[in-house]
């Protein structure tokens, strides 16, 4: 490399689950090996706690590098001038060429404010052995989906595991149902506050959702579980499928579901008139505006998105997700391959970040609470939508 880095490099990371944590620690180790004079301090903060704490440390004791999320989710910090403009990095050819696909998600006000390091598909992870047992196959349409579900229910197996204690998992369902019912553009407009929550389109989305709820497709008492706490339903075969991000694969595998028992399918089409669109949240690294060692921080960002590193960290035995660097290779892992396929060739409608990254925080909070309430007491729908609509009018 050009010249040696020195001093301290402080990194705050939210990669607190076991697999991501190992990846983060590995990166630090390798980066440190490359820059022996650099003293790297890594602080891993619980992923949920991180979301509230980022505000404090960005203003108070900023690290040199921090994790965060793309799109709307970074807007408050950009607006408050707490993230460093890294457009210069994006002009470097290696990054400009290889990371083009995530440039949009990192851009606000025409500038880039960080780099992505991974993204991952969402979709339905299911127990292929159970499907086989009841002679089911991956559904492609809403009707097939419901038919499969009915069979499972008749056999005493819930169709879907879900844990909505922390609300956002329900938003995944809403994202998919809404994008399948009304299409990506409507969904984007809705999260942008441009569409009414009491519109017929939104009602149609909820009507589809309700079909599943009325069937009893979801596990009971989901409001009491976090997403991890709902995993045992899948593991134990009490539920057959889980709409979730690819990060769910690692713990499921660890719990003993090998590839012969676990498989993946794309969320089925509902309205044939709309193009399929997917959620693919992008996780990012940023340099806080108050960072002290920005030179080393930039170097670290370059390192993170470098081709080799991307291949390495997104591998099935590491993060098990998709690399943002187009020159990197996607791991041979079955789920990554499927996801990569899906996102690159079967998502004509578009790729959304995720509900709470696309909608402003206050709206996301209100809406996700509504989703959970709907899943528990579907009859409250009118009331919920009224509330969301009035929230929309005050928030945007």
């Amino acid at each position: 490399e050009a010249h040696a880095l020195s001093g301290d490099l402080v990194i705050f990371s939210d990669m607190s689950n076991p697999a991501p944590r190992a990846v983060m620690e590995g990166m630090v180790e390798r980066f440190g090996a490359m820059h022996p004079d650099l003293n790297i301090e890594l602080t891993v903060i619980d992923r949920d706690a991180f979301k509230t704490q980022i505000r404090n440390f960005l203003t108070a004791n900023a690290p040199d590098v921090t994790n965060w999320y793309a799109a709307n989710r970074m807007r408050p910090y950009v607006k408050a001038g707490l993230f460093e403009d890294v457009s210069d990095l994006w002009e470097e050819p290696e990054i400009a060429e290889n990371l083009a696909s995530t440039k949009g998600a990192m851009t606000l006000d025409g500038k880039q404010w960080g780099v992505a390091y991974t993204y991952y598909q969402w979709g339905v992870y299911y127990r292929s052995d159970i499907y086989d047992q009841y002679g089911l196959s991956e559904p492609a349409t809403w009707d097939e989906e419901k038919a499969n579900c009915q069979v499972l229910l008749d056999n005493g197996v819930k169709c879907y595991a879900i844990g909505t204690k922390f609300l956002w998992t329900a938003a995944g369902w809403f994202d998919y149902l809404n994008m399948r019912t009304n299409g990506y553009d409507f969904h984007a407009a809705l999260t942008n506050g441009e569409k009414s929550w009491t519109s017929d389109e939104v009602r149609a989305t909820f009507a589809h959702w309700r079909e599943l709820i009325d069937m009893g497709a979801f596990v009971d008492n989901h409001q009491s579980y976090s997403w991890q706490e709902a995993l045992p339903f899948i593991v134990n075969g009490d539920a057959a499928a889980y709409l979730m991000g690819n990060f769910a694969v690692a713990p499921l595998r660890e719990a003993g579901l090998d590839d012969s028992k676990l498989d993946f399918y794309q969320f089925p089409a509902i309205n044939p008139d709309v193009a399929l669109a997917e959620d693919a949240p992008t996780d990012t690294f940023h340099i806080p505006a108050n960072a002290k060692n920005k030179e080393a921080a930039r170097e670290f960002l370059r390192f993170v998105v470098s081709t080799d590193n991307q291949t390495l960290i997104n591998a099935g035995d590491a993060l098990g997700q998709l690399p943002v660097n187009s020159a990197a290779s996607v791991d041979d892992d079955k789920f990554l391959q499927q996801g990569f396929q899906m996102l690159s060739s079967n998502s004509p409608g578009g790729v959304a970040q995720f509900f709470d990254r696309d909608a402003p925080a206050e709206m996301a909070a209100a809406a996700m609470e509504g989703f959970q309430e709907f899943m528990v007491i579907p009859d409250n729908l009118d009331d919920i939508l009224q509330r969301l609509e009035s929230a929309r009018s005050s928030i945007y």
């Binding site: 949920d48 204690k165 409001q223 009491s224 925080a361 909070a365 609470e369």
Partner: protein, 305 residues
């Protein structure tokens, strides 16, 4: 004009002896400054902040009473307020509960000291742990509660997942340590009951409940008063349990003001500092009623001196 020399009136004002006039302030200074700085001023800052709109990052924007007006139409606030009322009322059950256990344990059999301490145990444990323990107890799939309900042919119920039950479920968890607290207060109160009065009452033919009601309880008034105060404070401060057990859910049905304000001000999707401050102010005003009551009764005690 008669200019007769008046006898010079003696200095009637006693000179404050210096050491005794200054000493209290020197002793007070560090504690007082700390307390003003960290507790008293912040209260007023919160009052002030509640008139602003502020996301904690940019510059606050003065909005007058808007935050309070918004509270008026905020359903979540209404739910929180209502839940706070439930907390206030039901938490008081800790007082008779504590009294009952205290009466049960107020004996002098072998090992009773150990029993008393063990009964007091829940109070020493962090509410975080209590919250965890009770969430497992309530757990809809394996929780002991449903196992026990099963024995009597009831259930299963999902206490923490049911918006109608969740607050009560958390209150029960809170009552556990709080009852232990009241129990110890009453145990010491019972210790201080004048034995001669009990004997006098015994000679007067008072027994059992009548003795308790007419003679013992009136003497336990100081203990009851403190139990009342700490229970009210506990009820209004309740945060840890809610945060651990439900995080306010399901869909906000177990929030109370203290939790809601935290959520609004500092949680993942919050950072409406001004709004949070307004909630805190409301909570403070409720508390003020009790603080005033407490200070007033203390003032009455102090005055005879």
């Amino acid at each position: 004009m008669t200019n007769a020399a008046l006898p010079t009136a003696p200095d009637t004002r006693p000179r404050r002896r210096n050491a005794q006039a200054i000493a209290p302030w020197l002793f007070l200074a560090p504690g007082l400054l700390f307390f003003l700085f960290y507790v008293i001023f912040p209260v007023f800052q919160s009052f002030n902040l509640s008139l602003y709109k502020w996301d904690g990052l940019g510059t606050p924007e003065f909005v007058g009473l808007k935050n309070y007006r918004d509270l008026g139409s905020d359903r979540a606030f209404e739910v929180s307020l209502w839940n706070n009322v439930k907390w206030l009322v039901l938490y008081l059950l800790a007082i008779p509960g504590g009294l009952f256990i205290a009466l049960f344990l107020n004996q002098t059999v072998r090992g009773i000291r150990l029993y008393k301490s063990l009964f007091f145990f829940p109070f020493v444990i962090s509410q975080v742990v209590v919250g965890l323990v009770f969430s497992w107890f309530y757990d809809p799939t394996f929780g002991l509660l449903n196992v026990m309900l099963g024995w009597v042919g009831l259930g299963p119920i999902n206490v923490l997942g049911d918006p109608a039950l969740v607050t009560y479920g958390i209150i029960v968890a809170g009552l556990w340590p709080q009852t232990a607290y009241c129990m110890i207060l009453y145990l010491t109160g019972l210790n201080a009951v004048d034995p001669e009065q009990v004997e006098a009452a015994r000679l007067d033919g008072a027994k059992g409940w009548r003795m308790l009601w007419y003679v013992i309880l009136p003497q336990l008034r100081p203990a009851t008063f403190i139990a009342f105060v700490v229970t009210i404070i506990g009820a209004l401060r309740s945060f840890d349990l809610i945060s651990i057990m439900t995080n306010g859910g399901p869909f906000g049905s177990s929030r109370v003001l203290s939790f809601y304000m935290f959520e609004k001000a500092l949680s993942e999707y919050g950072f409406r500092m001004g709004y949070g401050a307004a909630i805190a102010v409301v909570l403070f005003l409720i508390m003020l009623v009790f603080i005033a009551y407490f200070l007033w009764s203390m003032y009455r005690q102090e005055r005879p001196r």
